[in-house]
């Protein structure tokens, strides 16, 4: 792969991601030595897109759902996304002066508390659904979250 000089570089991929991102493409397949290229553009969502583009930049209260979908794809690769099971305020620690339940890198077990969501004055502990390692914490402390909003990414161990 290296020697023939036509391997894909990280920058190339980043550039492609950007290019696809800024287009209406929904799929780009490119195989190399057999030379195959497929580009697919969305049409059916035309209406939805137009309406979306038009909707005045609504400051989504609590994370865009699209984010959730992207993250969900990663699940296929051994990553698990923990989502908010309710609407409320996200807290990383059991009390303002306490240590956070977890940090990036923490090893967690099924049932171990990851955070609190406060809803209607009630503190709800959100537990890990898997054994794994915290890869990313997606919400800042004391921020509002909506139903289904991704909170943590955990890599299965």
């Amino acid at each position: 792969m290296e020697k023939d000089g036509c391997s894909v570089k990280i920058e190339d991929i980043q550039m492609l991601i950007q290019a696809v991102q800024n287009s209406d493409l929904v799929e780009l397949i490119w195989e190399e030595n057999g030379s195959r290229l497929v580009l697919k553009k969305a049409v059916l969502a035309q209406g939805a897109d137009a309406m979306g583009a038009r909707a005045e930049a609504a400051p989504r209260t609590a994370g865009d759902t699209r984010q959730g979908q992207e993250v969900a794809q990663e699940a296929a690769e051994g990553l698990v996304t923990i989502e908010a099971p309710m609407v409320g305020t996200f807290y990383r620690a059991p009390a303002p002066d306490a240590e956070p339940y977890v940090e990036v890198g923490s090893i967690v077990e099924v049932g171990q508390p990851l955070c609190i969501i406060e809803a209607m004055k009630i503190m709800n502990e959100i537990e890990s659904e898997v054994n794994g390692r915290v890869v990313e914490i997606l919400v800042e402390n004391a921020q509002p979250v909506e139903y289904g909003q991704p909170l943590f990414i955990i890599e299965r161990i």
Binding site: A48, A62, V87, M120, Y147
Partner: protein, 450 residues
Amino acid sequence: MFSKILVANRGEIAVRIIRACKELGIRTVAIYSEADAAALHVRLADEAVCVGPASSARSYLNIPNIISAALLTEAEAIHPGYGYLAERAGFAEICRDHGIEFIGPKPETIERMGDKAAAKKAMEAAGVPVIPGSDGPVASDGEALKVAREIGYPVIVKACAGGGGKGMRVVYSQEDLLRALNLARAEADAAFGSGEVYLEKFIDKPRHVEIQIIADKYGNVVHLGERECSLQRRQQKILEEAPCAAITAELRRLMGEAAVSGAKAVDYVNTGTIEFLVDRDGRFYFMEMNTRIQVEHPVTEMVTGIDLVKEQLRIAAGERLSFTQEEITFRGHAIECRINAEDPAAGFMPSPGTITFYHAPGGMGIRVDSCIYQGWEVSPFYDPMIAKVIAWGRDRDEAIGRMEAALSEMVIEGIATSIPFHLDLLRDEGFRSGRFHTKYIEEEFIARKK
């Protein structure tokens, strides 16, 4: 006035409420289920919070999540629309407990009017005519004969535990009463395990006519005339109009006054509707009260010029009614057709799916209240009503002509809709004559077409 409210609903009514807020300069928070992320109400609102998965029970009825969403977005009030949480006294109470204004009546009023027996008693006490009958189950044949004599024949015998026509008998004369009573008791006992029956005056082929009322927090109550809602299928209204062809100016005044005194008696606040049955002699009887905005409110808006949803917001914010009863005037005639995503040719089977082409009707007197757009997917999870077309005319004929022209130029592709059914109905002689009743669609119109 509020600076921000949360709209605890979806579909066309959520869009309707958001439009009213935009006009009043109120910012809006939409709630939505995961299935509704692309819905029009989400796109039109200033903010949107996902409150649960597709299932209504876990999203649009998820009180904790909805309250949390209101608190987190600092919404000062919640508009419940119709359906969902609109008539849940408990929800109105939780709103109050959290310092959120519930845009509707007080929880106590909702609760009282939600209990049919209590509502009937309250209305009777306020002098509103109710359907005469026995006071609860009839204890004996003798009592039944006495009650029937008092209220006059025909009477209907109904099972206390009843439903579905079981244990129900219409009796036209005293000779038949005791036999009918026995049969009904036996049927009721077999069907519901209780032979208790009660008596009520039988109203043959009544009309369903409702009075729109509106009340502020200072005891001012005004009625906005009636809506004719007799055209129903399976208890679902199909086409509503204002005014009702069978109501005289005098009867309108009487029904309006009854509705206003009923509303005053229960300390009513915000918009509400008192539903009446009207018999063929022009007598009217209280049926129930809906303590919310109705689906068919636009026909009243079209003939009075008053924006009921904006009035709801103003009243909830503590403003006084800006008009008196004398200032309410009626102009012309309005008809509403509820367009459902269902196939009338296939037994009204629901028809969810993606709308591949949409073209709305337009022109003089035509109003469209809808939540659809081209490319949107009509979800199988929710009510099939996707649009309301309202036609106004100087008189009923003009309104009917406009509606027919509008529906024949409306295009919705990708799913089946009830438009062909409405076009048939608009061309029906019985409908055009204005002579129909609550069973007309099922017993005559549909039956005739088979």
